[in-house]
Symmetry: D2
C-alpha cells in the first residue's frame, strides 16, 4: 500500500516533472492533481494536452485523474496525505494556500520561494540540515496544526555549490567567503521561458531575483534552529552572478572559496567529498543518490549534458578543484536543476520526513 500524494500546479513544468519522477516510486503514488480553475474539471490528460514537456510518455495512472481547483482544499481530503506544491500564483496567495493545506493536516513540501524566509519553515536539503526538521514541532505549536507541516526546498541554483561547501564545513573547515558565477539552464525559467531569439548564439548575464536567492538561502540552510526560529549563518558571505545559457537542463557554478582560518589541502578536500554521506544515504531513501558528491577528474568536466543525469539526476558533480590565486580554492559544481534542484529534491524531502516519522501515514 503506497502513500497517496497530491500535486498543486500539476499541469506546469515542475508539476509534470513530479509526475514523471513519481511514476514508479516505491513509496508514493499520485492520487490528487490540482491546478488553476482553468484546468479544473478536466482529466489530467486533457488539461495538459499539447503541453506535456517530459521526454518520457505521460504515465497511464495519472491520465484520467480529474484536475481539481488547487484553492478548494476539501477536494484533497481523503485523497492524499502529502502535498507537493508547485503552483504559480502571487507570493502572498501561495503563502496562504500552503498554510491552509497544512492546517487541514497535509504535509506540504513546497517548491516555491514564498515561504523560504518564513522563520519557522525549514529550507531542507536532508544531506545538510536534517536537524532543521525539528522546527516542525514549533510550527505545529505556533499555528495549531495537528499533523500538517510545511517544508520547502531551496532555489535550483544553490545545490551545485552548497553541498560541496557543507561537506567541508562538516569537517570543521569554515568557509567564510564565496564568489560564485552560475551558468543556468533554460528549464529553470519554466515554460516557455526565454525566447529562442535571445538564446541562440547568445547568453544573458542576468536572471531576475536569482542572485539574491543564491546569496541568502545558503545562510539559512547552513543556519541553526534556536528558540523556534532558524537563525541564519552570517559567517559565510556569498556573492553570486547568475547567467542564463543555452542549455536545456543542468546548472553549473564556478566557485571561488576562502576559509576563515585553517584550510584543508587539495587531497583532503577530495577525500572529504568522496566520503561524504548524509542521512538520506544512511537511510537508503529511494530518491537518494548513492553519493551526494561525485568528483570528475577530467579537466573539462562537469558538463551539463554529460553529467546532469548522474545518479538519476540527484548527485552534485564537481570538478576542477584547484588553487584559487585570489581566494583559497576554486572548483566547478553542477546539478540537475529540475530533478535535484526541484521535483527530485522535493520528493527526497518527503521521503526523509516519512522515514523520521514527522509525516504520519
Amino acid at each position: 500500500m503506497k502513500i497517496k500524494v497530491g500535486i498543486l500546479g500539476a499541469t506546469g513544468s515542475v508539476g509534470q516533472r513530479f509526475i514523471q519522477l513519481l511514476e514508479d516510486h516505491p513509496w508514493f503514488e499520485v492520487n490528487y492533481v490540482a491546478a488553476s480553475p482553468r484546468s479544473a474539471g478536466k482529466s489530467y490528460q486533457e488539461a495538459v494536452s499539447g503541453r506535456w514537456l517530459m521526454s518520457t510518455p505521460m504515465p497511464d495512472n495519472v491520465k484520467n485523474l480529474i484536475v481539481q481547483d488547487a484553492s478548494e482544499i476539501d477536494a484533497a481530503q481523503g485523497k492524499c496525505s502529502i502535498i507537493f506544491s508547485a503552483v504559480n500564483m502571487a507570493k502572498d496567495d501561495i503563502r496562504k494556500l500552503e498554510k491552509a493545506y497544512a492546517k487541514e493536516g497535509f504535509a506540504v513540501l513546497s517548491n516555491n520561494s514564498a515561504h523560504r524566509h518564513t522563520d519557522n519553515v525549514p529550507v531542507l536539503i536532508p544531506e545538510i540540515n536534517p536537524d532543521h526538521t525539528e522546527i516542525i514541532h514549533d510550527q505545529r505549536k505556533a499555528y495549531g496544526w495537528d499533523k500538517g507541516l510545511l517544508a520547502v526546498k531551496p532555489n535550483c541554483s544553490v545545490q551545485s555549490y552548497v553541498t560541496p561547501i557543507y561537506a567541508l564545513m562538516e569537517q570543521g573547515y569554515k568557509v567564510s567567503e564565496m564568489i560564485v558565477t552560475t551558468l543556468q539552464a533554460l528549464s529553470g525559467a519554466g515554460y516557455p521561458g526565454p525566447s529562442s531569439l535571445d538564446m541562440i548564439d547568445n547568453i544573458v548575464p542576468f536572471i531576475g531575483g536569482e542572485e539574491e536567492k543564491s546569496e541568502l538561502e545558503p545562510q539559512k540552510i547552513l543556519g541553526k534552529v534556536q528558540d523556534g526560529k532558524i537563525v541564519y549563518n552570517q559567517n559565510i558571505k556569498i556573492s553570486a552572478h547568475c547567467n542564463r545559457v543555452p542549455v536545456i537542463d543542468g546548472h553549473t557554478a564556478c566557485v571561488s572559496m576562502k576559509f576563515a582560518d585553517k584550510k584543508p589541502n587539495l587531497e583532503e578536500i577530495l577525500d572529504i567529498w568522496k566520503n561524504f554521506k548524509g542521512e538520506p544515504q544512511k537511510m537508503e531513501l529511494p530518491m537518494a543518490p548513492l553519493q551526494p558528491i561525485i568528483y570528475e577528474k577530467e579537466n573539462d568536466r562537469p558538463q551539463p549534458r554529460k553529467d546532469r543525469n548522474n545518479d538519476k539526476g540527484m548527485a552534485v558533480t564537481v570538478g576542477r578543484l584547484r588553487d584559487g590565486n585570489v581566494f583559497d580554492y576554486r572548483f566547478v559544481g553542477l546539478s540537475h536543476n529540475t530533478i535535484r534542484g526541484a521535483a527530485g529534491g522535493g520528493i527526497l524531502n518527503a521521503e526523509y520526513l516519512v522515514k523520521i516519522g514527522l509525516i504520519e501515514i
Copy 2:
C-alpha cells in the same frame, strides 16, 4: 598612397579576419600574404577555397595575391613594411620567425602568445599602455634592429575586463583583487574548434591555457617600463575561470573587484567609464572606437549577439555595475574576441605605431 602590409598565417581564421577588416582601410593595403608551405604558390583565392569563414565576401584585391611560404622572409622584401603575424606554429618557431622579420626591418604586430612574456616586447592596448612602446628603442638596441620592431596584442579574453579596470586605476583607484569568470565564444578556439556534439545543449568549463593568460597578461599590460624591461604590476591579483559557451563571437566576463584603499562610488565609476578616452581616441585613429567603454543601462546587458559589434566590434560594452556583497563591486564586460580581441586590436596597434612615428614609412 597606402602603406603596404603583409599577413603571416593569412589563410587561417584570424588571417582572414585581418583581410576582411583591412578591405577598405584608409591607411593600409594588403600586399603580401604568407602561410605554410602547403599553401605557398597558390593564389589566395585558391589556397582558401572552401574555407573562407567571414560573413562578407573575399575582397577582390587579395584574390590573386600569390601566397608565399611564411618562412621565406626575402619574399616579403619590397612588398610591405608592416607584418601582421597570425601563424600557427610551435611557439619557439614563432618566436624566431617574428624576430627574423623584425631583423629584416619589418614592423611585426603579432597575434600570437609566443612573445607575450618576452620582457622587451610590449603587450599593447593603446588606450591603456601607449607608453610601453618606448621599449621598442631598447628592443632595437638589444637586437641590433634598424627599423624593425615587435609588438603583440594580449589574449582575446582580457579586453573585456582590463579596459574598465584600467579606466578606474588611471583616476587613482587601485584595484587590488579581481575574480573573473569568462563565457568565451567558439571562434576564440579557431576553426574547426570545438565539436558541435560538445557545444549544443552544453557548456565546457575549461579552456586549455586560458586562465593562466587571463591572470598574468594584465599584470604586464598594467606594468611599467623600467631599465629596458617591462616590470609586471604585482599589486593586482586576478583569479580567472574560463568557460566555453555556444556563442559564435564575443567574450563575456563576470567580474568582481576589490580596491586596495579608497574606492569610487557607483556614480563616479559610471562617470569615469563614460569619459574615458585614450590616445587612439585623441588621435582619431581609423580603427579606434569613439568610446572605448560603452555602458549599457538595461539590466540584462551586455549580451554577445547584441553588443559584440558595438562601434565596429572595437568597443568594450559594460553593464550591471553593482555592489559586490563580498568584493567592492561587480560588473559584466563584453568585447568582440576576433575584432577587438584579435585582428582589430592588431590593426589599431599598427595605426598607433605609425602615428607616433615608430613605424617609419
Copy 3:
C-alpha cells in the same frame, strides 16, 4: 528633400527592421511611427525601451518621434505619403485599416498577409511581376481612391524558391510541379516567438498556416492581370513542407522541380540565373541587389549564417543544382527572411512604385 514615410506597427520586430533599413535611405525618411494605443503618446525610444532587437543602435532621428495610435489616420496627414504596414491585429481589422489609409491618399505597402488574396491587390516582387502594378489603376477606380494605393509583399518563405523558378519561366521553361521543404528561421515567428526550450537540440516540423501560404501565393505572383483582377497561375502546383529550425535569420528551401514540357540543361539554368535581372536592377533602385540570384558553387552552400546577408540581405543565394532522380532537377535556395522577405522587400516595392510614378510625391 527626402520622401516622408510612416510605419504602422513601428514598435514590433518588423517595424524595427524598417526603421533600421531606412536609417540612411537616399530617398526615404521616417517621419511617422504608429502602433497600438498602448504605445501611443510616448516617444519611440520610450515605447521600445528594452525591446530594441536590432544589432545596430536605434537611429537618432526616430528616437524622439511621438508614437501615434495607428487607428487614428488623421495623425498621419501631412507627415508622410508612404505607409509601411506591419501592424499586429485581426485580419479583418488590418484589411479595413490599410484600405482606410489608402482612401486618405497614402501609398500603403503592407507586410501583412491580410490582403494577399484580395484580387485587385498585387503581391509584388518587382523582379518578377512589375506589370501587376497596373492593377492599381483598377484599385483606385473600384474604391474611389485618388492617390492612395495598396500593394503587399509575399510571405517570407517564398522568395527563396520563386525567384529562381521565375527566371527559368521567363526564358520559356514552364515549371509545372514543385516539392519544397523549407528550414525556416526563428525571426520569421516574430518576438518572442518559439521558446528556447523547443529550439535547442531540436527542430519543429510545423509552422501554422505557412504551408498554405507557400503553396498559394506563388500562383498569384506568377499570375496575370485580367479584367481588373489578378488571375492565379494554376499551371504550377507546389507542395510545401515547412520546418522551424534553430537559426536566427535566413530561410532555406530544398526544392525539387519538374517541367511541363521542354527543360533546360544544367548549364543553361546556371546561365539564366547568372544573367537574370529585373526592373529594380535596370533602374538601379537603392534597395535592389546587383544580382537577384547568386549561385554558390561549393557543394555545402547556401548556408543561412554565411549567405543570408549577401548583397545587403536582398539577394537570393542558390546552390546544389543537380539532377532530381524523381523530378527533373533539385536545388537549394536561401534568402534573408526579415530583409528580402519582409522590410527590405517592402522598401524595394515602394522604390519601384515611386520610380514608375504610381506613388506621386
Copy 4:
C-alpha cells in the same frame, strides 16, 4: 549463460553505443573489444579515457577488457561468436576484414556501408525483409563459410521513411515515387563531426554520400532474393535531399509519396501503421519496440528531442500525415539515428538471427 559478443571499433562512438545498449542485455554479453593497433593492449577504460561520449557511465564489465587489434582475428577465437563491426577503415579493408571474421566462423553484423551493395549480403531491417536472411545460405556456399555469416544494417537516414512506406506496401499499396528531405542529427557524423562554428545559428544543406545511400539502399531492402542475389526493387524511385541540423540525436524526414495505382485513404494509412507488426514483435525480441511505428497526432510532432527515445529509441515516430498537393500524401518520420539507425538496429538483427537459428550458439 549469455552469448558472448565482440565489437570491432569498440572505442569509437558507435562502438560505445553498442557497449551501452548491451550493458544489461538478456541474451548477449560483451566479451571481446577490438580497435586500431593504437588502442590494442590497453584496458578498454584506458583506451577510451577522456573520450567516453555516452550519457550513462561506462559499464563496469567492459572496463577491464583488454582491447585487441581488430585485424588479428585469432584473438577473438573462443571469446565470442557474434561480432558487431563498427570499424573506421578504408572500405576495401573493411570488406576484407568482415569476410575474414565470417570465414573464421563468426556471425558478423556490420554497421559499415562497405558491404551494403554486395549482392549476397542482406541489408536487414527484420520488420521489413526478414526473408532476405535466406541469402545467408548462398553466402556460406559461395564463400565456403561454415557457421560464419555477414549481414549489415542500412544507413542511419533510411529508417525514418522506409518502415512507414513498407507497412503500406505490405498491404498491397505500391509506393512508386518519393521525395524526401532529411534533417539529420550531428551524431550521425561521428565524433568530433561538424564544427560548432558551422552548426550554431546555421544548417548545412549537404552531407557527403548521404543522398545516394538514402536513395539506393531502400531499393535493396525492398527487393527480392533471387538466384543467390538480392534483386533491387526498381519500381520505387526516391529523391533525397539531406541536411545537417543542430540536433544531437534523431533524424527527421519530410516525405512526399506517390502510389503506382490504387492508394489507401488517410484513415486506412493510420490504421495500417497502428497495426503494423514484424517478426521482431511477434518473437518479442529483447531490443524490438512494441510497435515499430508510433503515430503522433499533435500537428507539431514528431520532434527529435521529444520523440527520439520512444520505446528505447527503437520505434519510428510518424506524424503530420496529410494530402500531398503534388504527390498523393505527405508525412514526417523520425528515428533515433544511433540507436534504431545504428547500434540498436545491429543488435536487433543479431537477436533475429539467433532466434531463427542462423546464428548457432
